[in-house]
């Protein structure tokens, strides 16, 4: 139906709420421990033999892992690079995906079918199949050993999936709203910006977070296209830490924690967006 209320129903179901809270607690119980272990592992003193019993709080507690991780892996420099890539690539990527998804929802169905099919095919191409030809392309453009190849996937919306998700979201908006925009003589671009995009804000929040993580943890691309250690991104730095001797596991875990925290922050922010969406009953 058109123009009806959206969002969660406000039914006064205390019992249901309780169940949901219990469910949430269960989710926490399942999903959080691995991460806690990651943190706890990273705080273990490197060089000690593994403890035969589970230890949530390591003894002795030590931050040596972090110091050595930063030192050995060049994590600071790598973090900067990763941030640079993310700052450029994520907005660009979301922009491209949102625009393309919108265009798909509004152009002739025939063209949409073609592009959607192509996107699906693109989803199927394994990353390994792309490395070599892409390398050749970037070399032709003189862009190897720069950060450009790491940002370039933003042109794809990072993953064609995101374009398709946007497409579905935009398609689901009431047709009358688009009609109203047509009557108001909005250009497609402005319809997108002023009406469509604000209405799919949760999608944008979610996809931004996902794009960020994908960009942030992109490993294969930098491995192939980046030579200069000065241009290493976090996953590459982590990769080299991963080859430390097993007793230095805490060092690696510390690196992993450092690499994970920004992604977590972004997720938490995006998740706040979801919540804020809750607070507003929309019509």
């Amino acid at each position: 139906m058109r123009g009806r209320a959206r969002g969660p129903s406000p039914l006064p179901e205390r019992a249901a709420r309780l169940w949901r809270t219990l469910g949430a607690a269960f989710v926490l119980l399942v999903f959080v421990p691995p991460l806690l272990l990651l943190v706890s592992g990273s705080l273990t003193e490197p060089g000690l033999p593994p403890s035969p019993t589970p230890q949530l709080v390591p003894d002795p507690l030590s931050t040596t892992g972090y110091e050595r991780a930063v030192d050995l892996g060049g994590l600071l420099r790598a973090s900067l690079n990763s941030v640079l890539v993310a700052v450029l690539a994520v907005p660009l990527s979301v922009l491209v995906a949102a625009l393309a998804g919108f265009a798909l929802a509004r152009i002739a169905p025939r063209a949409t079918t073609v592009v959607v099919a192509a996107s699906l095919v693109a989803l199927m191409v394994p990353a390994t199949a792309l490395l070599v030809p892409r390398f050749a392309i970037f070399r032709l453009l003189g862009l190897t050993d720069t950060l450009v190849p790491l940002i370039a996937p933003a042109l794809l919306g990072t993953s064609p999936l995101y374009v398709l998700v946007y497409y579905l979201a935009f398609r689901a908006l009431p047709a009358d709203l688009y009609d109203a925009c047509l009557v108001e003589d909005l250009s497609p671009l402005r319809t997108w910006w002023r009406v469509a995009l604000p209405l799919v804000r949760p999608v944008t929040a979610g996809l931004t977070a996902l794009t960020f993580v994908l960009t942030w943890s992109n490993f294969l691309d930098p491995l192939i296209y980046v030579y200069d250690r000065e241009l290493f991104t976090l996953p590459l730095a982590l990769r080299s830490l991963s080859l430390l001797d097993p007793t230095n596991f805490p060092v690696f875990l510390a690196g992993a924690v450092i690499a994970t925290v920004p992604a977590l922050v972004v997720f938490a922010l995006a998740q706040r967006r979801f919540l804020r969406h809750d607070d507003r009953s929309e019509g």
């Binding site: 593994p50 390398f135 050749a136 070399r139 190897t144 491995l223 080299s240 430390l244």
Partner: protein
């Protein structure tokens, strides 16, 4: 930019891999070089492991922008050598006023000859040895391994050193589900063809039918079979090596580090790591012997790509790295046995203050060292045999099946391979 012209302003790009400390050593080397030769620039391209390095090398060659130099083990350089990616160095060596091939261990040099040409220059010449935990040996009153010990000595020593947590000798074969697990294992050895090869050779057998033009694995000869049998028995009959689950839980190197492995058969590479040990004393012993002492070569070399646009500068760096100073810097990590004879006999390598006291073992082994074949499909063959051998050791597959499987499955790989 990546392509670069032949302009000498471009840095020489050197592709290496290694754990962070190892990469640190290469950085030191590059800096030392740039310090020593003003105007020269080296750009390190750091891969973290062999797989990364291969992927990078292959893509960049295919993409038309290869690095100038790369560092590669002889077991894996075959595929690059065969495909004409590596620049032959004979002329440059001949013309060099710095490098004298005679300064280097011939066995290592030889390993990097392909079709009669010297393709790469070996940086090190390491070999297998048995690291052992002296403190443990002392505690249990077991004699330490000595030069010339036999396989049987190894087995009995290992058996004596396999102990439970009360210090009693225990047989690890009943480990699973049994009352108690060994707290200390007698020996650690990887079930791989590089570990197996010296044993086979020592027993008078061969790994392949023709070391220059191999077409198949020849583990079916009685000598090779015996060596393989014995390797498998370490786990299946005597239980002196950790089970697969135990290895997954804690690999042999950590086990040794943690003082719960009496002996470990591995290359010089482990030394750096073991130097962090503070809890006990350790040392190295030569490989045990069947009939005659034989070692197996571990060696990495600098190779120059044919597609390099900066060959002269690259060569200058090679000269430096292969020279005494360069060798000394790398040797200081403890990880390698320098290929430069002079350096290898110098304190840079034999430093008495640094464990193992008995580093001489590595030098002594060099004359007996043999190289594995350098067929271009060798990496595939190694991966294949590793899986099969691992199952043989840990699951106790029938030895005839193991040998047949190895033979049958590796033949097409040999057939596809190219030889130098």
């Amino acid at each position: 930019g990546s392509g670069g012209g032949s302009a000498s302003g471009d840095p020489v790009r050197l592709l290496v891999f290694g754990a962070p400390e190892e990469l640190g050593a290469y950085r030191t080397l590059a800096e030392a070089y740039q310090q020593a030769r003003t105007g020269e620039r080296i750009q390190l391209i750091e891969a973290s492991d062999r797989k990364d390095l291969l992927a990078r090398l292959a893509t960049s060659v295919a993409g038309g922008a290869p690095p100038d130099l790369f560092l590669m083990n002889y077991r894996f350089y075959g595929q690059f050598a065969a495909k004409g990616v590596v620049e032959p160095l004979d002329e440059r060596i001949a013309a060099s006023s710095v490098l004298d091939p005679a300064d280097y261990y011939p066995v290592a040099m030889e390993a990097f000859r392909w079709g009669g040409a010297q393709l790469c220059l070996p940086q090190n010449v390491s070999s297998l040895a048995v690291y052992y935990n002296r403190t443990l040996f002392t505690r249990y009153g077991v004699p330490e391994p000595t030069a010339g010990w036999t396989w049987n000595d190894l087995v009995s020593t290992a058996t004596l050193m396999t102990r439970d947590d009360r210090g009693l000798v225990i047989k690890g074969t009943e480990a699973e589900g049994a009352a108690r697990l060994p707290a200390v294992h007698g020996l650690g050895v990887e079930p791989s063809i590089i570990r197996l090869a010296p044993l086979v050779w020592s027993n008078g057998g061969e790994i392949v039918d023709d070391p220059d033009r191999p077409t198949r694995l020849t583990l079916d000869s009685p000598a090779a079979r015996e060596a393989l049998r014995n390797l498998i028995d370490l786990r299946q009959a005597y239980g002196v090596v950790p089970s697969d689950a135990e290895v997954e839980a804690e690999d042999d190197e950590s086990r040794f580090l943690n003082g719960r492995l009496a002996m470990l058969m591995t290359s010089r590479r482990a030394t750096t790591n073991f130097r962090t040990i503070t809890g006990f004393e350790w040392d190295v012993a030569p490989l045990p012997v069947y009939r005659q002492p034989v070692g197996v070569l571990h060696s990495d070399a600098y190779c120059m790509t044919r597609g390099s646009r900066n060959k002269d500068a690259a060569w200058r760096f090679m000269e430096y790295a292969m020279g005494e100073e360069g060798q000394r810097i790398i040797a200081a990590t403890g990880r390698t046995v320098p290929s430069h004879m002079g350096v290898s006999r110098s304190p840079a390598f034999l430093d008495p203050d640094q464990p193992p006291r008995n580093s001489q073992v590595f030098l002594d082994a060099i004359p007996t060292v043999r190289a594995l074949p350098t067929v271009s499909t060798w990496p595939e063959i190694e991966d294949l045999s590793y899986g099969i051998l691992e199952n043989a050791v840990h699951r106790g597959d029938k030895i005839d099946d193991v040998i047949r499987e190895l033979d049958v499955k590796s033949r097409p790989m040999f057939a596809r391979g190219e030889n130098g």
